[in-house]
């Protein structure tokens, strides 16, 4: 890439973020416009779109599948039934409602893909908010933010944690011992902020109507089929990659969507085209376009190339390197998709350790796992930065975009500024807790 193309790439990405932040152009259109300019200036070409298929294709397939299954579950009326006990658990209290969201989402997202979880859980959250007479925007933002932070609880909780964890050669138990506590703290630090950030919801008290009979399911066979599809999909999320034929989460989601559509057509619930019309295509297009912008950023080699500068500037000051990465990767992830940022940061971090001769050059390979103990806080800091930074803004993580898309479909638009009102303070608090956690790890190791 020529220097002018590197500057143009950075300029286009900055302009797209600004345009979205100030709500000047629709976010999907703004990112598509950015992609078109990159195409015309030769920054992106056909081969780049093939690479984007590899990175964005999985996320988009996962969301598409989740959206189809969620729509089918909604049509079956199962959310109306499940919504009743969920609402009862809140006892009409906004405080209990918010406090219920945190552990529920955290536990699910520790094992299932974040964005898909947001899609599947959203109908329950929105129905409960409507019953309590409150706006569902704050709670949906909370769902997205908790889902991102909860991704840190386990090695498989988030693509970013999985990428960094495997690059370090971490096993599942090792991850639980060294990282999960930090993830838990990042989730828990949200709780004391809720009364401040979501005061209206927190202070809400509603008299719930007396418990009546559970709503009657209109099509019990369809409900059973729809729930079976959900169970199959969730089981494949959890165990699909251990089958003789590797079925990753995107494939599991497509499989779930196919079975759900088959049930819809087989039982003549509604035309398949109607089910597909309910998919939030704008969100999917936005994610595809923003991943294309990320491909251009990756082509500049700027993030990966920082390894040698980091070695020159900071030498073997690991604590400083860890905190620098936490801040820098966290800041980048606020407006850039965290998976490509983390993937590029792994190359950078490995390059840094090779350049300062802390490890042999073979450490650049994916096979290498003999990292010195002192290197672990550096990797973990990068992981926390990549995962938590995305909580700050609407476009920082796919779960955020999905949550905003669902709110828009329900009739309430979530602007960049509105998301940031919740996201920025929570992210600052989470990164502060992460800093303390990293310092504790440095001290321990």
């Amino acid at each position: 890439m020529a220097d002018w193309q590197i500057y143009l790439t950075l300029g286009i990405i900055t302009a797209v973020v600004i345009v979205i932040a100030f709500d000047l152009i629709d976010m999907a259109v703004a990112t598509m416009l950015g992609v078109v300019i990159m195409l015309l200036s030769g920054i992106l070409d056909e081969s780049d779109f093939l690479k984007v298929q590899g990175t964005a294709g999985g996320v988009i397939a996962l969301l598409f599948g989740g959206m189809v299954v969620a729509r089918v579950l909604e049509t079956s009326g199962v959310f109306d039934t499940l919504g009743v006990p969920f609402l009862r658990l809140t006892r009409g209290s906004g405080r209990r409602y918010l406090l219920l969201i945190v552990p529920t989402v955290a536990v699910i997202c520790a094992f299932l893909p974040n964005a898909a979880t947001v899609v599947l859980i959203a109908p329950l959250i929105i129905r409960a908010a409507q019953a309590l007479g409150i706006s569902y925007v704050g709670p949906m933002v909370l769902v997205a933010i908790v889902s991102n932070a909860a991704g840190l609880l386990t090695l498989v909780g988030d693509p970013a944690t999985y990428l960094v964890g495997t690059a370090m050669g971490m096993t599942f138990p090792q991850y639980i011992r060294q990282v999960s506590l930090g993830g838990l703290l990042a989730v828990l630090v949200i709780v004391p902020l809720l009364p401040l950030l979501m005061r209206d919801v927190w202070n809400t008290r509603r008299e719930l109507p007396p418990t009546g009979p559970m709503p009657r399911l209109q099509r019990p066979v369809f409900v059973v089929l729809a729930l079976s599809v959900l169970v199959v999909m969730v089981l494949l999320f959890l165990f699909g990659q251990q089958l003789p034929t590797d079925i990753g989460p995107p494939a599991a989601a497509i499989l779930g969507a196919t079975l759900a559509l088959l049930a819809v057509q087989g039982l003549r619930v509604e035309p398949v085209s109607e089910t597909l019309r309910a998919v939030d295509w704008k969100t999917l297009i936005f994610l595809g376009a923003i991943m294309s912008l990320m491909q251009a950023l990756e082509k500049t080699g700027m993030i990966q190339g920082m390894s040698l500068r980091l070695a020159d500037w900071l030498g073997s000051e690991y604590t400083l390197v860890a905190l620098t990465l936490l801040a820098a990767v966290g800041l980048m992830s606020t407006v850039l998709a965290n998976i490509p940022v983390v993937a590029a940061s792994i190359v950078m971090t490995k390059g840094y350790f090779v350049a300062i001769e802390a490890v042999p050059e073979i450490a650049l390979s994916g096979q290498f796992t003999e990292w010195p103990t002192a290197a672990l806080p550096v990797f973990i800091a990068m992981m926390f930065g990549g995962t938590l930074g995305g909580n700050a803004t609407l476009i920082g993580a796919s779960a955020n975009v999905v949550a905003a898309g669902i709110c828009a479909q329900q009739g309430e638009k979530v602007s960049f500024a509105r998301f940031a009102r919740y996201g920025v303070p929570i992210t600052i608090a989470q990164l502060a807790v992460a800093t303390l956690y990293i310092l504790a790890l440095v001290w321990l190791f």
């Binding site: 020529a2 220097d3 193309q5 390894s307 950078m348 390059g351 090779v354 050059e361």
Partner: protein
């Protein structure tokens, strides 16, 4: 004569857009890549970079040389900071497989040797005792340990951060010998206080060090470009085509006097597939001369190093330099 980039690899397209080849070289190894007082680079590695730039861009001057420490070379290549790494790098299986790189061909057959004070010049390598300096981050330490174990010698490696540091340690008497690639030892010997004659390079070679250019393996066509530029220089020597007579290399595939239309067509297709200029072979040879000229100028009789060609002679003269057919 221009080039069509319709089929060119991503790297070739990037180089064209940038108008410059970025070549990773050493921070200063005489004979391979070193800068003079005026800042002009020279050496065998540098010449290969210039030949590739000439083949791709038609101008050997359109190269940005990026000096790299040994430990920084692969991170720089992986991060895309250089298009091509030509930095005294030994082709090994683990590097090629694990680092996702490709060594398109061998530029220089080297071997690890020992440099000792001249008074020890008749000492067999297996009889050396005491600390032996080696450069950190290279394969030399492992080779030395293997040699030591095989011969039961009582040597210990004294690992020094850089090649210059290791040589300085030998010159200061901190180690008994300095073990590195023979070519590198010859280059560093020139800097010895009191002159190169005060130090000798023992004749034993304790390792095979095929040094070659390196590219990322994600772009096989780019590896092909580098490979065939280097083989063209070797083929040119075999055919007696020199810098002065480079125009005879149009195209090398039919230069044997054949009027084979098939060979000409295959050559044209290959050139188009690689995204090279139609006159790339002429440009490369005109830029740096044939392989023999490059060797003599940088390492051989025409250079301060005065290295023997040894294994780097053409195959027709008992060496290992052999270019596959260019058709």
């Amino acid at each position: 004569m221009g080039s069509s980039l319709a089929f060119a690899s991503d790297t070739v397209k990037s180089i064209h857009t940038r108008g410059q080849l970025r070549c990773g070289v050493s921070e200063g190894i005489p004979g391979f890549s070193a800068r003079d007082a005026a800042g002009r680079w020279s050496g065998l590695d540098v010449d290969l970079c210039r030949a590739v730039a000439a083949a791709v861009l038609g101008d050997p001057a359109r190269v940005k040389f990026v000096p790299l420490k040994a430990s920084a070379r692969f991170p720089a290549l992986q991060a895309g900071q250089v298009d091509l790494l030509v930095r005294n790098t030994t082709w090994t299986m683990s590097r090629e497989v694990l680092l996702a790189v490709e060594f398109p061909a061998v530029l220089f057959y080297d071997g690890q040797a020992f440099m000792v004070p001249a008074e020890l010049s008749s000492t067999p390598a297996a009889s050396l005792q005491g600390p032996i300096c080696v450069e950190k981050g290279t394969t030399h330490e492992r080779n030395l340990a293997r040699f030591s174990a095989a011969h039961g010698t009582k040597v210990e490696a004294l690992v020094i951060d850089s090649a210059h540091g290791a040589a300085a340690a030998l010159f200061a008497g901190k180690c008994r010998a300095y073990s590195s690639d023979a070519s590198q030892l010859a280059a560093l010997r020139l800097q010895a206080p009191g002159g190169a004659a005060r130090y000798a390079i023992l004749p034993e070679r304790i390792s095979k060090e095929p040094l070659g250019p390196v590219v990322p393996n994600s772009d096989p066509h780019w590896g092909s470009v580098v490979r065939w530029v280097l083989y063209t220089l070797v083929e040119a020597e075999e055919r007696g085509i020199t810098r002065a007579t480079a125009d005879r290399a149009v195209p090398l595939a039919i230069a044997r006097g054949s009027t084979d239309a098939r060979a000409r067509a295959d050559w044209d297709y290959s050139v188009r597939e690689l995204g090279l200029r139609h006159d790339w072979a002429v440009q490369a040879i005109r830029a740096v001369g044939n392989y023999g000229e490059m060797f003599e100028r940088n390492l051989g009789a025409g250079s301060p190093l005065r290295l023997e060609r040894g294994l780097n002679r053409l195959w027709t003269q008992g060496g290992l330099m052999y270019a596959p057919p260019l058709n």
